[in-house]
C-alpha cells in the first residue's frame, strides 16, 4: 500500500501525461488510453462497479481491479488530476479521495449500451460485421468490447489470464483497439468431443461435459443463463458500447426458449439489434422477413435495421427489393454491403466447405486435413507467402508438396489411427529428409514414436498407439489435465522470435534438440518443441507459430531452396497485417451503412 501511495505522489507531481507512448507496456489496456495514473489513486476503492475481492491462499481478501479502465479514460484522468491539485490532497487521504472518486463517477461513469448483430443463418457475416462495428466505434473514440454468449468451435485462443475463448472474439477485441481480450467476451465455449458430447467451458475454464439434450435442459436454464447475464453486466459496467454477436439464426422456433445466444442475451443487455443476411445464396428477402416475423413481439421490437451482406456486382440493383422488404416489415434496410475480399483469420470448418486449397502461389504446402482438425487458423499466415495451401486426405495428394504440415487435433490418438488407415502415415514417413515436415500440437505428438493413453483419455480406449516415429519422443496422457498458456520465445539456432499459445492435453518427452527457447515465463533455460535441422523435421506445441515472421521465413527458405536455406525478403508481420485488414473491413462497412441511422442507433434514439 505504501508503494502505491508513493507512486501516486510521483504521478501527481508529474502531472497530465496522456498516453505514455515511451512505456514498454503501452498500451496495456487499449489504444488511446490515458496513462497519467498508471497506479490508481483510489486503490482500493472497494466500489463493486470497478472491482471485486479475490481470496488469497492465506484466506485474506485482496481488492482486484485489473479489468477497470475508468482511470485510463482521458476525461477522468484530467478531472482527477485537476481536483487533486486544486484541493491539495495528499495521496492516501482516503476520505477526500473517495469524494473525488464519487464526483468523477457521477460525471463520467455511465452504464454502457449494447448493440447486437443477429444473422438470418450461419455464415451471414455476423462476426465480420461485429468486428467492423467495433473498429468503427473505436475509431470514433468509444471504449468498446465485443461479446458472444456462446461459441461452438475448436478454434479457441488463450487470453493473458490463461482462459480459452473463441478466436473470433479475440479478433473483434483487436478491432475494438483492446490490447487483451478476456473471458467475459465469450463466457460460454463449446468444444465438440465427439458426435454428441461437448466440453463446456465457462469463463474460459472447463465446466463439464454435456450431451446436446443435457446442455439445453440442464446447463442453459441455470448456469448458462447466469453466465451470460453476469458477463454482460461486467462489460456494460466498464465499456461505453458492447457489440454483441448472435449465434446461427435467432428464429429457430423449435429451441426458442433455450436459445441464450440470441434474443435472450439481447434482452438481458437491453440491446438494439441489427439483422444481417448473406445475399450470396439467394432467398435473402425471404430469410429476412421470415426471421423477423417468427420472433416474439418483444424480440421483434428490438430489430432496428436490416443489413444485406456480401453483394456481388452493383449493390444498387437490390435497392428496389430492399425498399419493398422494408415496407413489408416496417424496419429499414440500413446497409447493402458489397462482397469484401479481405483476408482475416477464419473460424469453424466452414472454411473447408467445398474447398480444398487456399491461395495460388508457386509453393505448394500440404496440410493434413485430420478428421478432428483443430486450430487450423495456425495456417492462415501462410497466405502471406507465395504459397498454395492444399488440404490433403489421401497419400496421392501429397505429390508436388514442398512441405508437409500436420496440424492440431481434438483427438490425437483417433486421428493417428486415421493417418495409418488412409496410408498417409507411410506417405509422410517416406517424405522424411525430402521436404520439411512440421507438426503442431497434436501433429507434433504424432511425430513421436508412441502415444501412451493408459486411461483412454483421448476417447479411443486405453492403450498405446505407434506414432510416425520421426522424432525420438513419446507423448502420454496420464491425467485429465490441460495445459493452456501463452508463450513467447525464440528459435534456438537464431532467426528470431515466435509468439503463440498452447492448448493441449497430454505431455511429450523428447530426446531431440529443442526448437524454441521460451522467454516469457521468467524461467531460464525453458525450451519447447523438437527439431532435427538436417532432416528438416520440426515439432512444436505452439499454436500461432507462423504468425510472427521468423519461423515462417525459416520454413519458406527451406522450401525455396529445396532443402538448403536461402536468403529471402523480410516477411510481413501477420498481426499488423490483420490490423490493416480490420481497418479496410471497417471502411467497407462504413461506406455501405446509413450513417445517420447508425448515429441515432448509438444514441438510443430508435
Amino acid at each position: 500500500m505504501d508503494t502505491i501511495t508513493k507512486k501516486v505522489s510521483q504521478e501527481i507531481a508529474a502531472g497530465d501525461i496522456g498516453p505514455n507512448l515511451s512505456c514498454r507496456y503501452h498500451p496495456s489496456h487499449f489504444t488511446g488510453q490515458d496513462c497519467t495514473f498508471c497506479y490508481c489513486p483510489f486503490y482500493p476503492c472497494l466500489d463493486q462497479t470497478f472491482g471485486y475481492d479475490v481470496i488469497r491462499e492465506n484466506g485474506e481478501p485482496v481488492w482486484d481491479c485489473q479489468d477497470c479502465l475508468f482511470i485510463h479514460r482521458h476525461a477522468v484522468a484530467q478531472f482527477v488530476m485537476h481536483e487533486i491539485k486544486d484541493k491539495g490532497l495528499a495521496a492516501g487521504d482516503s476520505r477526500l479521495l473517495q469524494e473525488v472518486l464519487s464526483e468523477a463517477k457521477r460525471r463520467y461513469w455511465h452504464r454502457g449500451r449494447a448493440l447486437m448483430v443477429v444473422g438470418a443463418t450461419s455464415d451471414a457475416g455476423k462476426s465480420v460485421a461485429v468486428a467492423a462495428i467495433c473498429r468503427i466505434l473505436h475509431r470514433a473514440g468509444y471504449l468498446v468490447a465485443p461479446f458472444k454468449s456462446q461459441n461452438m468451435s475448436l478454434n479457441s485462443r488463450v487470453t493473458v489470464r490463461g482462459c480459452e475463448i473463441s478466436m473470433i472474439q479475440m479478433l473483434q477485441a483487436q478491432a475494438a483497439g483492446l490490447t487483451n481480450a478476456d473471458e467475459h467476451m465469450n463466457p460460454i465455449l463449446l468444444k465438440p468431443k465427439g458426435d454428441t458430447v461437448s466440453q463446456v467451458m465457462v469463463e474460459g475454464k472447463p465446466f463439464g461435459d454435456y450431451t446436446v439434450e443435457q446442455y439445453y435442459k440442464e446447463f442453459v436454464p441455470g448456469p448458462g443463463r447466469e453466465a451470460v447475464k453476469r458477463n454482460l453486466d461486467f462489460l456494460l459496467d466498464r465499456y461505453d458500447m458492447v457489440v454483441m454477436e448472435g449465434a446461427g439464426s435467432p428464429a429457430e422456433i423449435n429451441i426458442y426458449d433455450a436459445d441464450i445466444a440470441n434474443m435472450q442475451a439481447a434482452a438481458l443487455a437491453d440491446a438494439d439489434c441489427l439483422l444481417i443476411v448473406n445475399v450470396e445464396w439467394g432467398g435473402s428477402f425471404a430469410y429476412a422477413i421470415g426471421t423477423i416475423e417468427l420472433l416474439s413481439p418483444a424480440d421483434r421490437a428490438r430489430i432496428k435495421g436490416i443489413i444485406l451482406n456480401n453483394v456481388r456486382g452493383d449493390p444498387q440493383k437490390l435497392r428496389g427489393g430492399a425498399d419493398e422488404l422494408a415496407k413489408r416489415v416496417g424496419i429499414p434496410v440500413v446497409g447493402i454491403v458489397p462482397h469484401l475480399d479481405i483476408d482475416l483469420p477464419n473460424e469453424d470448418s466452414e472454411v473447408f466447405r467445398g474447398r480444398n486449397s487456399r491461395g495460388t502461389g508457386s509453393k505448394r504446402i500440404a496440410v493434413i486435413k485430420l478428421p478432428r482438425i483443430a486450430n487450423f487458423t495456425d495456417l492462415d499466415p501462410l497466405s502471406l507467402e507465395d504459397t498454395t495451401v492444399v488440404y490433403v486426405t489421401r497419400p496421392e495428394e501429397l505429390a508436388g508438396a514442398g512441405a508437409v504440415i500436420i496440424p492440431g487435433t481434438k483427438n490425437t490418438v483417433g486421428d493417428m489411427h486415421w493417418l495409418e488407415q488412409t496410408g498417409l502415415a507411410d506417405a509422410i514417413r517416406g517424405l522424411k529428409e525430402k521436404v520439411p515436415i512440421v507438426g503442431i500440437c497434436g501433429g507434433y505428438q504424432m511425430m513421436g514414436r508412441v502415444l501412451h493413453d493408459p486411461h483412454g483419455l483421448e476417447g479411443e480406449g486405453p492403450g498405446d498407439t505407434p506414432g510416425l516415429g520421426l522424432f525420438d519422443s513419446e507423448s502420454h496422457w496420464d491425467s485429465y489435465d490441460k495445459r493452456v498458456i501463452r508463450d513467447r520465445g525464440e528459435l534456438i539456432d537464431g532467426g528470431g522470435e515466435v509468439e503463440g499459445y498452447e492448448i493441449h492435453m497430454g505431455k511429450t518427452d523428447s530426446r531431440e534438440q529443442p526448437l524454441f527457447r521460451i522467454t516469457s515465463h521468467g524461467r531460464r533455460d525453458e525450451t519447447e518443441g523438437s527439431v532435427r535441422s538436417a532432416q528438416m523435421l520440426f515439432g512444436t506445441y505452439l499454436h500461432g507459430v507462423f504468425d510472427r515472421p521468423a519461423f515462417r521465413t525459416k520454413l519458406m527458405n527451406l522450401i525455396n531452396a529445396g532443402g538448403a536455406p536461402a536468403p529471402a525478403a523480410p516477411s510481413k508481420d501477420y498481426a499488423a497485417e490483420v490490423d490493416r485488414n480490420l481497418d479496410r473491413l471497417a471502411d467497407g462497412f462504413e461506406s455501405a451503412l446509413d450513417l445517420s441511422f447508425f448515429r441515432k442507433l448509438l444514441r438510443g434514439e430508435l
Partner: protein, 280 residues
C-alpha cells in the same frame, strides 16, 4: 394436368437433387416422368442428341427418368457473357444479347416456355419441374420465368425445398411463403427440409408451428448424405462419395440410395403423388 414444381428457399437448397430423386420414384411406379426447368442461368450446359444446349441439371434428371435429354426440358438458357450482359438462348439457339438497357421480350419467351411445357406433357406421364434460385426475390419476381412465371402460366402446384444446414430453415420457409404473390401462394402445397443431421424429433415443434402459420404440411425431413451429384452451379455442394466406373450410373445409384434413405426417414411420396395429380 399432371405436374409438380420443386422450389427452393435459396440456391443450393437441393431442388435439383430432390427433383431427380422424385423422378426415380415415379419411374419405379411406372408414372413416366420427364424433367422441366423453364430457364437456367448457367454456363454449365449439356448438349442434346440433336445438338442443342440445355442445363446440366435437366440432363441429369432426364437420365434419372430413363429418358434422352431434349430441348423441351429446358427451353430457356441464359449464359452470362461478361459485365452485366447475358446471351439469351431459346430452344438451344442464341437469339439475343440482354443487358439492363436491352431487356428480354418476356411475352415471347413465356410463349416459348409454355409451348415447350405442353409438348413435353404430351410426351410423358408427369412433368417434374424445378424452380430457379428462390421464388421470393422481390427485385426479380416481376420478370421471373422459372418460378412464379411458370406457376402462373400453367397453374403448376409447388413444393418448397429448404436447406437446414446453414440454419434459419423455419424463417426461410415462412419468409418465402409470405413473399409469394397472393395469387400464386395457394399453389404452395407443402415443404421439405433437406440435409438434416441428427434426430428429427427436435424439429417437431417448429414444423408444427410453420404448418399452423401457412397451412403447408411438412412432406419430409431428408437426411444429409455425402453423395455426389453433378455440379450445376458454383453454389452446389459437390463433395461426397462417387464410386464405380460409369459416372452416369454412379450418379443414378447415389439417387436411389438417397431415395431409399429419404423414404425411410419419412419422405411423404403418397402426398407428393397427390400434389402432382397422379392420384386423388
Amino acid at each position: 394436368m399432371k405436374a409438380i414444381i420443386f422450389l427452393g428457399t435459396a440456391s443450393g437448397a437441393g431442388k435439383t437433387t430432390l427433383n431427380a430423386v422424385y423422378c426415380r420414384h415415379l419411374r419405379q411406379i411406372g408414372a413416366r416422368p420427364a424433367p422441366f426447368k423453364a430457364s437456367n442461368l448457367s454456363l454449365n450446359s449439356y448438349v442434346t442428341a440433336d445438338g442443342r444446349e440445355i442445363g446440366m441439371g435437366q440432363a441429369f434428371q432426364a437420365w434419372a427418368c430413363g429418358l434422352e435429354p431434349t430441348i423441351e426440358m429446358n427451353p430457356v438458357l441464359l449464359k452470362p457473357t461478361g459485365k452485366g450482359t447475358m446471351q439469351l438462348m431459346l430452344l438451344g439457339k442464341p437469339v439475343a444479347d440482354l443487358s439492363s438497357t436491352r431487356p428480354m421480350d418476356r411475352e415471347k419467351v413465356l410463349a416459348t416456355v409454355g409451348a415447350a411445357f405442353d409438348r413435353l406433357q404430351d410426351s410423358c406421364g408427369v412433368v417434374v419441374c424445378e424452380g430457379s434460385g428462390s421464388p421470393a426475390e422481390l427485385n426479380l419476381q416481376k420478370t421471373d420465368l422459372a418460378n412464379v412465371g411458370l406457376m402462373r402460366l400453367r397453374q403448376v402446384p409447388a413444393v418448397l425445398v429448404a436447406d437446414i444446414e446453414r440454419g434459419g430453415v423455419f424463417a426461410a420457409i415462412y419468409g418465402t411463403w409470405l413473399l409469394m404473390p397472393p395469387d400464386v401462394r395457394p399453389l404452395l402445397k407443402g415443404f421439405i427440409i433437406n440435409r438434416f443431421r441428427g434426430d428429427a424429433v427436435i424439429l417437431r415443434y417448429g414444423i408444427d408451428r410453420i404448418t399452423e402459420l401457412t397451412g403447408m404440411p411438412c412432406l419430409g425431413v431428408v437426411p444429409y448424405r455425402a453423395l455426389r451429384f453433378p455440379a450445376e452451379d458454383s453454389m452446389s455442394d459437390t463433395e461426397g462419395r462417387l464410386s464405380g466406373q460409369d459416372v452416369h450410373q454412379a450418379f443414378l445409384d447415389n439417387l436411389d440410395r438417397l431415395l431409399a434413405d429419404a423414404t425411410d426417414a419419412g419422405l411423404d411420396l403418397a402426398t407428393l403423388d397427390r400434389i402432382a395429380s397422379l392420384s386423388t
